[in-house]
Symmetry: C2
Subunit: 438 residues, 2 copies
């Protein structure tokens, strides 16, 4: 025989066993159904695009991570997110689209990151975005937390918090303090407050050469807590004389006060003045979502408002707001921490064991079960009955139907519940009823 | 403003408008649900694999068409089908799998073919395969047409024919005639019979240097017609003294006679002794499927039995049988020929128009509709009511709910059926009932 090639999946590429894949697909489908409940239209753009198109706005880290290659004369790349393809799509098909354009896309994206545990080079993003033409009402910003809330409820979570903020507040604050140039560094320092403590945050900001009055204002700002009303009041009481800041506070107030109307319980969202979500893309509302019992996982769903989606492709002004769930990473984290488990998931509800030499009856019964919407498989190998039951058990199939000479003669089925071990002799119709009601 | 990049999708990469995408997704979901009804487990292997793994068995055309590239030190490629990844998967995860292993995979594959109308470089394949360990019962071969039948019924077709054959018959015939070396060429000539006629087929085979006795046998063979029983009898009456041939006839008889038990009506399948499905891969039963009113589309679902799936990766012998639907191409053909149409498909069932300045009531109603499982969107822009209705109409949303001061005061909704134009003033509960019953 030939020399064998080692069958090996690349590091950083998730590949699941079947019962894990069933769980993954369940989650993906729940996300999709929730997105559709909010009236988002499906898109499925290509994974391969012209490098010029994909890299129109990229740079820095993204460009280094991108999978880029030639085929013939074409300079190609694999998409590294679903936002750039959306920007392209909206510019390309503009005359055929209706705005506000609500679309979801769930698909794989590619980033050649350093391989490490829990980091993927091929991973699913599940995005929704609402794109306006020239303008887009803030009601959309208030609707987003409701999408996040319904999605994570569907996924089986209760104890999570959607943090919202508005980038205009941060930008306005730094503008008022004449610290625009240092905003990136200061935000990075603030971001570490849970780890390094308040005193060290102050010290590190001092080291940037910021005077103590300004540090006081920053520290007052980030120590604001309380419910929505209290937070908004406290922000106003800072008396920051900056237009952008005050616009941000007004937007945040309007958005936050509408979230409740969208059915999100007050315990599932709050204002967090420190979240910023990167530094040049978002221009208004920003979102992060944390599972409260597993804060160490980081944000499991993030996004925000941007002024102009497609500026690299068109002069048309298209503001938008959206979120993304990194499903592959989330799935890894949740299963790795045993927060969810694939367990005994199966596709087939019934397996048929034929004890007669002739499979005719078994085939007929399988066909009738399938016609009744019951996922069914027939065991077709020539194996001992014990091994056939072992097979059903390994695949977590909840019911086995045994067809022997007696069953053929009496026109019955022997139906075994694989969980309880109980076996009954019933008509096929009765069997179908039992399986459907299970 | 910057120089703009032209937002352009690559040729050969399908990208759909939202209502077309809804139709595409409906078809994909129907295929998936049917595959699951037969107990196939889902897989989702990476699109990118090591070139060494993917090309273990490739060669010729495939190797030329493959998207292959380097990232760092890695020699990578995009998968060009779902069979090679399955072969890898089964060899790689062998100890974790249960055989017979029934899996489906629906995903994109990549071939850098010449760009031409209706030919895609990125396209969906929808595959099912049943993989045995050492052996696999022929009952599985008989089940495959039932999967094809149920799938195309689900997709809305009635008038289609599944053609089956067995490669052992063809191979045995050529062996008996000592024409193995010419079998490829002869089959290619036979394949053209509909176009060039019987006389020209004979002439072209003669030109290969085949003597007339043998040509008579070949022509007798390919002119066999009739139902299953008649065809099998006619094959036996050829008195071909070849073990492989006779084994093939026995297999074909067994498979064909079981298909009916799987619920496939006799008018939906037949034996076609001329189908071969490529020349080195399949070793037993082969399948092609034709939409009878659109035979020019070619086979819309094909596959067959193979002796050994993973021989390039492992010494374990794993015979299998499977089929594939090229969904992207099929979708193109069906829509291009207007056999199916995206029409007025929508995701949202209801759109809410707010005539009050305050959106609170509209938001509340949207939330309640969604909680009742009704896909709902709110029109949030500041637009004339006429334009809001136009928006709903462009998105094919079947119902519009108008909320004005009167509705808020009376706690009612104005529900408009966008198809009939009828508008009623009802309670929200009644509105939900109407929409759900529609």
């Amino acid at each position: 025989m030939n020399e064998k090639v080692q069958p090996k999946t690349l590091p950083g590429f998730m590949e699941l066993l079947p019962n894990e894949q069933i769980l993954f697909n369940e989650m993906k489908e729940k996300i999709q159904k929730t997105y559709e409940k909010f009236g988002f239209l499906p898109l499925n753009t290509p994974i391969v695009e012209s490098a010029e198109v994909l890299l129109a706005k990229a740079g820095g880290e993204t460009e280094k991570q991108i999978y880029r290659f030639n085929k013939g004369d074409s300079d190609l790349a694999l998409r590294f997110d679903l936002t750039v393809p959306l920007a392209k799509y909206v510019a390309e098909y503009y005359p055929n689209l209706t705005f506000p354009f609500r679309r979801y896309q769930i698909g794989k994206v590619y980033r050649g990151e350093k391989a490490q545990r829990g980091r993927y080079r091929e991973f699913y993003q599940c995005d929704v975005d609402i794109i306006g033409e020239n303008e887009l009402s803030l009601i959309n910003d208030a609707e987003i937390p409701s999408i996040i809330y319904n999605t994570f409820k569907e996924l089986g979570f209760d104890d999570f918090t959607i943090s919202i903020n508005n980038r205009k507040i941060l930008n306005g604050l730094f503008e008022a303090l004449e610290l625009n140039n240092l905003s990136v560094q200061i935000l990075r320092i603030i971001d570490k407050i849970d780890k390094i403590g308040k005193e060290n945050v102050i010290k590190e900001i001092q080291e940037l050469g910021v005077d103590s009055n300004k540090i006081d204002t920053i520290m007052n700002f980030i120590s604001i807590t309380g419910n929505i009303e209290e937070t908004i009041s406290a922000l106003r009481e800072l008396n920051i004389d900056n237009e952008l800041f005050n616009l941000g506070v007004n937007e945040l107030e309007e958005v936050a006060s509408n979230i409740k109307l969208f059915g999100v319980p007050t315990e599932n969202y709050k204002i967090d003045l420190t979240i910023a979500r990167g530094l040049d893309y978002y221009t208004g509302t920003v979102y992060e979502t944390f599972l409260n019992q597993y804060r160490q996982l980081g944000s499991v769903c993030s996004g925000g408002r941007y002024d102009n989606l497609s500026s690299y492709y068109t002069d048309k002004k298209m503001p938008g707001v959206g979120i993304s769930i990194g499903l592959t990473r989330l799935f890894f984290q949740l299963t790795d921490n045993k927060i969810i488990e694939a367990g005994n998931r199966s596709i087939s509800k019934v397996m048929i064991v034929s004890m007669a030499d002739d499979f005719s009856k078994s085939i007929e019964i399988a066909t009738q079960l399938r016609n009744n919407g019951i996922n069914t498989q027939i065991y077709t190998d020539n194996a001992k009955i014990k091994n056939q039951f072992k097979y059903a058990s390994r695949l977590n199939i909840p019911y086995v139907i045994v067809i022997g000479e007696d069953e053929i003669k009496n026109n019955t089925i022997a139906l075994k519940n694989m969980e309880t071990g109980e076996q009954v002799s019933v008509s096929l119709e009765e069997g179908i009823r039992i399986i459907k009601n299970a």
